[in-house]
């Protein structure tokens, strides 16, 4: 009995061992990758582990008793998670990750791309769902151009919106580190730029440079409505607003060390264009201001402060030469306070209203106000330009060398003295004035 039992057990063991062996043999023999079938598997740069070792059944489970029939894979993730760590599905989760469609992006067998990406540059994989045609406008952001969506986005999940790797401008500063530094050091920062770069820039592609969401000046006018209204109302336009970089010809849209987000000192900016004569109309030419200022040492206050906007409205005006306020073009005009609005924005209004003064001006003979005398006339009142050069001259108080009278230039021959001075223009014979001892009597003689 015992011998019989031992025999039976021995036979069973032999059968079992033989069966196991045959199973193993069958498995090896039945590898799907052969020269005839699935021959290309294992030939690419990156081969998935189970494929590399011929363990196709790790994922593809055969239907019992049916050759070449497998249980359909409904959710790839279920198989991936057998080996791979579960991805955290927190915050914003990429749709394929959410639905467990790992194989939507990753090739489960092999790939020539790192991470078993299905296609070449990452963008080609992304393009399956996110059409790339919309990413090919005139100006393309460098990472988009390189098809590297992962420079800014995370592929699986992120705490940040749009699957961004970092929040807000931080994602931009990863590459644009100079901007971050500039913002920190700048005295004036454009608020939208620190709020979000994407307020003005499209992070992918646009038809406007540099990746602006809209053309200038419309983009700027979206917020700066007052400037838009001002420009619209202006009858004299400043070309600076319409040429080259438009608003950014003068303004830095990010940061600046000078108020109004100016790129440089106001006058420096103006002189980048006004360093040569400019034709504004057929018979109207603006001279070379840079040259004028370089050869004349006594300059008007705003120019000394290097700010042309003291008198000129750089965004446009209803006055000629985009002056901020009215300023007579003529040599003579009938006096009224309004005629001198521009000058009397800074200079004492009473200068031309008080017949007598000892405090208002140095241009007086005793207490006789010579400004009043020249300007305050019902007819033929002399305008400021008659005697003063508005930008600069080599005489004190930027007095002209010559009076522009019609097409003539009559020399003024102004000679200052410690207490007054004299002039001999074409308008009248030589006249002296003294703040200390009135010369009126002498002049009359």
């Amino acid at each position: 009995m015992n011998i019989q039992r031992i025999y039976m057990v021995s036979v069973a063991i032999v059968i079992c061992l033989r069966f196991t062996h045959s199973q193993q043999k069958q498995a090896t023999q039945e590898s799907c990758i052969t020269a005839k079938c699935h021959a290309t598997f294992g030939t690419e740069k990156f081969v998935h582990g189970p494929v590399a070792v011929g363990e196709c059944k790790a994922c593809h489970q055969p239907v019992q008793n049916e050759k070449h029939k497998f249980v359909p894979i409904k959710k790839a993730e279920d198989f991936c998670l057998k080996c791979h760590e579960r991805l955290e599905k927190k915050g914003v989760v990429h749709a394929p990750v959410m639905s467990g469609d790992c194989t939507g992006c990753h090739n489960p067998h092999q790939s020539n791309q790192a991470y078993f990406m299905r296609k070449g540059p990452i963008a080609e994989t992304c393009a399956k769902c996110h059409p790339q045609e919309a990413m090919r406008k005139k100006n393309v952001h460098a990472p988009v151009e390189d098809g590297d969506c992962l420079t800014c986005h995370k592929p699986h999940a992120s705490e940040k919106p749009k699957l961004l790797s970092k929040s807000g401008n931080e994602v931009c500063f990863e590459c644009h580190s100079d901007m971050e530094q500039n913002f920190t050091e700048a005295k004036h920062v454009h608020a939208p730029a620190t709020d979000a770069c994407v307020k003005c820039h499209n992070p992918h592609t646009t038809d406007t440079s540099p990746l602006l969401v809209k053309e200038q000046p419309d983009l700027c006018f979206d917020c700066h409505k007052n400037i838009k209204n001002h420009v619209d109302k202006s009858t004299v336009q400043h070309a600076a607003l319409t040429v080259d970089n438009k608003c950014t010809n003068c303004h830095s849209p990010h940061e600046s060390q000078i108020g109004k987000q100016l790129k440089d000192e106001p006058m420096k900016l103006c002189l980048t264009c006004h360093e040569h004569p400019i034709n504004v109309a057929q018979s109207d030419k603006i001279g070379n201001i840079k040259e004028l200022l370089s050869i004349n040492k006594n300059v008007h206050g705003p120019i000394r402060d290097r700010d042309c906007s003291g008198c000129h409205d750089v965004h446009g005006s209803t006055n000629f030469r985009i002056l901020k306020k009215y300023y007579p073009k003529e040599f003579y005009t009938s006096y009224s306070q309004v005629q001198y609005e521009l000058c009397f924005g800074c200079h004492q209004q009473s200068l031309t209203q008080e017949m007598k003064t000892t405090t208002l001006t140095g241009f007086r003979d005793g207490d006789r106000n010579l400004h009043y005398l020249h300007v305050n006339k019902k007819t033929k009142g002399r305008t400021c330009r008659s005697c003063h050069e508005t930008h600069a001259s080599n005489n004190a108080k930027h007095i002209r060398d010559a009076v522009p009278f019609g097409q003539w230039m009559l020399p003024i021959k102004y000679e200052p003295t410690p207490n007054g001075g004299s002039c001999t223009p074409g308008c009248h014979a030589r006249k002296e004035y003294s703040r200390f001892i009135p010369s009126s009597t002498n002049n009359k003689k």
Partner: protein, 357 residues
């Protein structure tokens, strides 16, 4: 005749006053004045000077930028009055002030919520004494009556200058010296590609990192960062030949970099030339190393077998920049060599956090 004599005497007195005051102004000494304030009370400058600075502003209701200046001065006054800023405004409305003018001036000051002293220069004598040409004009005076700042008009530049003056007087952050803008600044696009390369390198995408570093080098051949990074990439790809080629590019005198010897030493250490590596760093290490450089230095020490010293240096590097990804990368290599299993595990986890495989 009598009238002429009277006028002569009057003129002489006015002139003498003007000459002495003009002399004072030339000496940059402010002229004290006594004027009535808007409520009619007498105010004398000398008796009301600020502990640190007194700002006198000549303004008018018709002046273009007078309101802006008053508005800004009120802000400064609120900020700094308690620490020594005194502000006094002098209205120079016109040569002859009418009662209606006073009402108008008061309304304007109330509208601007001005809380500092407001004086009226009825005959413009102070206006003349200070030789005011444009309104507004601002004059800052020290406690010893020296004129320390003057601004005529209120242009953008003038506004900036005044703001800097106040900032420097009261120690605001903007008075701190800015970065020297004359120093070398890399091409902006080169900097961006270099940053992209760094990001890719950090995440272990060496192929993209190399591509971007090359782009950066092409855009700015004097920019050292992408060259150094390219050497690191080549070393990680075990391409010693390329690393050496890139190093010679980095060692060109045109490329300005403080610690050139360090990269060279690092390259030697990576390629097994431990002695040469140590020779290069000997006596050259200063406290000015940044986190990356200190990590490289630590690596050189580690490769030379000075493990504890190396670990200390890695620690110093981490203190300088905890986010520097090279620290765990290089330390892990040294720890593996020294069979410090626990530290290897720790660094391996840190490296993984950077997305490196």
């Amino acid at each position: 005749m009598r009238n002429r004599l009277q006028y002569f005497i009057f003129s002489f007195l006015v002139l003498s006053l003007c000459v002495s005051r003009a002399q004072q102004m030339r000496d940059s000494t402010a002229i004290s004045f006594s004027l009535r304030n808007i409520e009619g009370k007498k105010y004398t400058l000398k008796e009301n000077l600020g502990k640190r600075i007194t700002v006198i502003v000549f303004w008018s209701t018709w002046g273009n930028d007078s309101m802006k200046m008053l508005h800004d001065l009120q802000w400064y006054y609120t900020q700094y009055h308690s620490i020594g800023l005194q502000v006094v405004s002098i209205c120079v409305e016109s040569q002859s002030i009418m009662p209606s003018d006073i009402i108008h001036i008061r309304a304007i000051l109330n509208g601007e919520n001005v809380t500092f002293q407001n004086l009226i220069d009825e005959k413009l004598l102070t206006f003349q004494a200070y030789s005011i040409v444009a309104v507004p004009t601002l004059i800052a005076v020290s406690p010893s009556m020296k004129i320390v700042f003057k601004l005529s008009g209120y242009s953008l530049i003038g506004k900036e200058k005044f703001s800097s003056f106040i900032d420097s007087t009261f120690g605001n952050k903007h008075s701190q010296a800015r970065r020297n803008i004359t120093e070398y600044m890399p091409n902006k696009d080169a900097l961006r590609y270099s940053n992209m390369a760094m990001k890719k390198y950090e995440r272990g995408d060496l192929e993209s990192a190399e591509k971007y570093a090359i782009k950066a080098m092409q855009l700015d051949s004097l920019f050292s960062v992408p060259v150094v990074l390219s050497v690191e990439i080549a070393l990680e790809l075990n391409d010693t030949l390329k690393a050496n080629e890139l190093l010679s590019l980095f060692l060109r005198p045109e490329i300005k970099s403080g610690n050139k010897f360090l990269l060279q030493s690092f390259l030697y250490a990576k390629t097994g030339r431990k002695k040469e590596a140590m020779n290069l760093i000997e006596g050259n290490i200063t406290d000015s190393l940044n986190a990356k450089e200190r990590a490289m230095y630590a690596y050189v020490l580690g490769k030379a077998g000075l493990i504890q010293q190396a670990l200390n240096e890695f620690q110093k590097a981490k203190k300088l920049s905890p986010a520097e990804f090279r620290i765990p990368m290089l330390r892990m290599e040294i720890c593996k060599q020294a069979a410090l299993t626990e530290l290897v595990k720790k660094d391996s986890l840190l490296i993984k956090q950077y997305g490196r495989q």
